[in-house]
Amino acid sequence: MAEMFAPVQSLFMWVSEFESSIALRESQYVMPWVFVFHVVSMCMFAGTILMMDLRLLGVGYMQTPFSQVQRRLFPWQIAAMVVSSMTGLALVWGNPMNYVTNIIFWVKMVAMGIAGLNAMAFHFITEYTVIDWDAGKTPPSGARLAGWLSIILWVNVVVAGRLMPYALTWFRS
């Protein structure tokens, strides 16, 4: 499996030799708190994304038009995404070699990428018609598909994030 990661391995190796990377790795208290902020910002990000998805599926917050749910949650989603991306980057920055050959880490990265594409596809295609179904009982199938994909992909991201440390015992002998 190791050769699969060869192209990125040298990049991660390069980062691991930076002074900042070594300092993060050797700090006893910084890393746990980076993890704490990663989890807290995840709560806000996943929470606001999932609640918007429930509205898209037509199963939650149906007394509020979708556009209002989306518009009001958007700044919180972005702010939380910035914090969780920065803390996530710091986690990888401090221990690049722990992640580069971790298959679950790459599952998480790919799921995040697809989730981003799903959000953009929804924004640029389906959301154009929002005026037709904003306050309606059931959003159209395109909107529901985007909602399902978003829930599945972000749950995948959270689960993969939590399972990453187990990759060492599960996939390597």
């Binding site: 929470g47 609640m51 917050y61 007394q63 509020t64 009001r72 959270v158 399972l163 187990y166």
Partner: protein, 157 residues
């Protein structure tokens, strides 16, 4: 008290969780997914109380919509939290973060279903903006401290 925790760790179900290479991991993962839903259903109402949410909707309406997701995610949190606790009962007994988490959880739970509920379900305008905002901030603070202590259990115990 300590003996009680030792006994729990000896239950066959606790030992089975410990001996499995994946049960604990999967339970942890879904504890975190449930946390996402819990945080979301709390924030929907807290952001509204802060005046940063759906200001065109009465708070009570948002709270009613959030309720099934709030209750459902709390149930999921307990269902995925208890297996983690029983399999690590002796370790948890010694962890200050576990004690803090349980204390904050108790306070957060009581606050959510008494004061916060009263304010969220009150007719629009009964409580001033200051009270609403304070309730939202206390709610966010209490639940955040539950999550923080939960994460710290795994580090320093």
């Amino acid at each position: 008290m300590e003996q009680y925790f030792v006994d729990i760790a000896q239950w066959s179900v606790s030992r089975a969780i410990n001996e499995s290479s994946w049960i604990f991991a999967v339970v942890q993962a879904f504890h975190l997914v449930s946390l996402g839903f819990l945080a979301g259903s709390l924030l929907m109402v807290d952001l509204r109380l802060l005046g940063r949410g759906f200001s065109q909707q009465p708070t009570a309406r948002v709270a009613r919509d959030a309720r099934p997701w709030l209750i459902g995610s709390m149930v999921a949190m307990v269902l995925t939290g208890v297996p983690q606790f029983i399999s690590l009962a002796t370790k948890e007994y010694e962890s200050p973060y576990f004690r803090w988490k349980m204390l904050m959880l108790l306070i957060a739970f009581i606050f959510t279903f008494t004061i916060r509920k009263q304010v969220a379900y009150a007719p629009e305008g009964r409580f001033g903006g200051g009270i609403s905002k304070a309730v939202a901030l206390v709610s966010i603070g209490l639940w955040t401290s539950v999550a923080i202590n939960g994460r710290l259990i795994g580090f320093f115990s």
